[in-house]
């Protein structure tokens, strides 16, 4: 009882082979697309490596790149096979290879699905990496004289300008860190010393933000310092002021940006997976129908094609037995005391009544 049996005439088989040849070449193109999507994601993650903490995020783009390259190879081979399948004589060349090819491609399409799901699953790790990375970047904002951190200020400023965000969760994050280096603080002034003494760690904290937090849509010139002090500025109310600074946090802005990219990539990879699966189904049908044709002997006759010869459960059981017996080939059969040469009477089928043939009288 075969799974999804379909009858194929000779013309059907030829058409199927031709269509699959074209589809395999289209799949090579989709493999290239997969590769370039992985490369794009890798470049995007690398662009902001300074703002991400040490997390293993590169496994997703690496997986996509590898899958893309393998897809190109597999579908190129598949194209060649399908091209030859239009002719029954050429099919004999590939006969032995086709079943392993179908099995490999099946596991490979599973890898594509895993790649697509990983794109969606990466979000949690990315969020964590961004959270820690941005926190550290803001802490080291002032260290423009420390090697390895001297461009962090520029990176954070350009990030806040480009993504229209301020701070990690909001602009108040800047109130809790010292973002002005001690090199530019006049320690002889009383006000500066008072601020430094006002907290346990001796940090110069103030309710001000860097210039990159300024909102360009504000109708008034940017208020960067004494933000919480409504009386320090004319006609200014801190609680109701919305347009002065960017209100979004950079973690949320970056996360939205990357989530958008990864969702688009994941969706595209899912479509590619469905396409590969359909091509694989076509190749399986082609393989089984051509094998049945060879079994029947007449190359122009109709044949059946199927996905599995027996039902799913039986196929699984027989494969399981094959695997089990593979493991047993080293073990000795203990039924005949270990001697394989003992003549065990066979239950051969002699004739219609299953009677053994008359004994030939021995010549005396």
């Amino acid at each position: 009882m075969a799974v999804l049996k379909v009858k194929f005439t000779k013309t059907n088989r030829d058409k199927l082979a031709q269509v699959l040849w074209i589809l395999n070449w289209v799949s090579v193109v989709t493999g290239v697309i997969l590769f370039s999507l992985g490369l794009f994601l890798k470049v995007e993650i690398n662009k902001r490596w300074e703002l991400m903490a040490e997390r293993d995020l590169h496994y997703v783009p690496n997986m996509l790149i590898a899958t893309g390259l393998i897809a190109c190879g597999i579908n190129f081979l598949g194209g060649k096979i399908c091209y030859d399948c239009a002719d029954t004589t050429k099919f004999l060349r590939w006969k032995l290879l086709m079943l392993p090819y179908v099995i490999c491609t099946f596991f490979f399409t599973f890898c594509i699905l895993v790649g697509a799901l990983m794109c969606y699953g990466m979000r949690g790790e990315l969020e964590e990496a961004l959270d820690l990375g941005l926190r550290d970047a803001m802490r080291y904002y002032k260290d423009t004289d420390t090697p390895g951190r001297c461009f962090l200020k520029r990176t954070v400023d350009l990030l806040q300008i480009q993504f229209q965000c301020c701070g990690n969760f909001g602009f108040r994050d800047w109130f809790q860190i010292q973002w002005i280096s001690n090199r530019y603080l006049d320690m002889s002034r009383r006000e500066v010393v008072a601020r430094l003494r006002s907290n346990v760690e001796g940090k110069y904290l103030m309710d001000g933000v860097p210039f990159s937090c300024c909102n360009i849509n504000s109708p008034r010139p940017c208020i960067q310092h004494q933000i919480t002090n409504s009386s320090a500025h004319f006609n200014y109310e801190y609680q109701t002021e919305e347009l002065n600074l960017w209100r979004k946090g950079c973690r949320q802005a970056l996360l939205e940006y990357y989530t958008h990219i990864m969702q688009s990539i994941g969706f595209t990879v899912l479509i590619i997976w469905l396409f590969e699966l359909s091509v694989l189904t076509g190749v399986r049908y082609l393989q089984t129908s051509l094998e049945n044709v060879l079994r029947q002997g007449d190359p122009d006759s109709e044949s059946d094609g199927w996905l599995l010869e027996n039902s799913f459960v039986e196929t699984a059981r027989s494969n399981f037995n094959i695997i089990k017996s593979l493991g047993k080939c080293n073990q000795i059969d203990t039924a005949n005391n270990g001697d394989p040469n003992i003549n065990v009477p066979s239950t051969a089928y002699y004739g219609p009544d299953n009677l053994p043939s008359k004994q030939i009288p021995m010549a005396s």
Binding site: D186, P210, F211, I216, P219, R220, P221, Y236
Partner: protein, 339 residues
């Protein structure tokens, strides 16, 4: 006295027709490319139209677009003509078409050359347009409540951040303009009243710049106000400080950007012009060789091709004389009526 005569045996004619067909398709693509370059340049100019005073510079992309479209038509017909040139019976039907065709194609090829020259020559025009536009933009920076000007602040801020520049000629332009609106000035404060009284026009002027002038590459947090006062900030010397704010003026930045764009486009269009000229020259040779075949029985004989039947001067006189006669006739006519 024929100009640049060349002999054309049959094989050479066939090769000329085939080569010209290929060349005309390449020139068609080049014409489409010119059109897209014109569209791109126009889009880029329109993006910053708010800081430009006039649209005279738009003549360059407009010319490029017109020339691009025209060359599509010119080269399409050139291709059709050389397809028919291989058959001596079908070529004569193009005879009446040739005169206007030459007129139109020479005109548009010259226009292409003009576009290239303009893209280099209009730098002064662009600069003066930007000077006035930026001056107005900086003057109206504070008028975020005036309809028609409320987005000037946003435009100027975005421009300064994108092009990494400050002010018109340089950052000192901000010192001469009141860029903080009166709505946000506390007129009860003594400092504000002093400043407003200190100049004739009653404007609030001070040595500060907007935040968009700040340079993110600066190692220290941005110093926006009291820029010329060294003692107002710790460890600061305004004469030697280079990284704090952008030193370059926006006019210079924009002119450099657009001239770079137009120079590249000009170089590309020049090569398209050379391609188009070679197409026209080859087509002229093809036309004259095929016309020499007219009326001949054997279409495989050798014929001569030339660029101009008479010399350059004579050909020009041939075209100009009717016009002069027309003008003189008018003059004679007016003399008659006076007499």
């Amino acid at each position: 006295m024929v100009l640049m005569k060349m002999k054309f045996p049959f094989e050479k004619r066939v090769k000329l027709a085939q080569g010209l067909w290929l060349l005309s398709w390449m020139a068609t693509l080049a014409g489409a490319f010119t059109f897209t370059l014109g569209c791109f340049l126009k889009t880029e100019l329109r993006r910053r139209a708010e800081v430009m005073d006039n649209t005279e510079i738009h003549a360059v992309p407009n010319t490029l677009m017109i020339v691009g479209l025209a060359s599509l038509g010119i080269n399409y017909f050139a291709g059709r003509m050389c397809q028919d040139a291989l058959d001596a019976g079908r070529f004569p039907r193009w005879k009446t078409f040739m005169q206007p065709y030459w007129g139109v194609s020479l005109l548009f090829t010259l226009l292409m050359l003009m576009a290239v020259i303009m893209s280099y020559a209009m730098k002064g025009n662009l600069e003066s347009s930007l000077k006035i536009g930026l001056k107005n933009g900086i003057r109206f920076y504070k008028d975020t409540d005036t309809p028609g000007r409320c987005f000037q602040k946003q435009t100027i801020d975005r421009l300064q951040m994108e092009f990494r520049c400050c002010g018109n000629t340089d950052f000192k332009d901000w010192f001469e303009v009141q860029w903080i609106s009166n709505r946000y000035l506390d007129f009860s404060s003594k400092e504000v009243k002093d400043r407003v009284k200190s100049n004739v026009d009653g404007r609030y002027l001070f040595d500060g710049v907007p935040f968009s002038c700040c340079n993110p590459s600066s190692p220290r947090p941005c110093i926006q106000d009291r820029l010329t006062n060294n003692s107002a900030h710790y460890s600061y010397e305004h004469q030697t400080e280079e990284l704090n704010i952008y030193i370059r003026g926006c006019r210079e930045a924009l002119v450099n950007y657009y001239m770079g764009l137009m120079n590249t486009i000009g170089a590309g269009v020049l090569s398209v012009f050379l391609l188009q000229s070679s197409v026209l020259v080859s087509l002229r040779y093809l036309q004259t060789t095929m016309e020499a075949l007219a009326g001949q029985e054997n279409t495989e004989i050798e014929t001569e091709g030339y660029l101009l039947e008479k010399g350059v001067k004579e050909t020009i006189m041939e075209y100009v004389t009717p016009v002069l006669v027309f003008l003189q006739l008018n003059q004679v006519g007016s003399e008659d009526t006076e007499a």
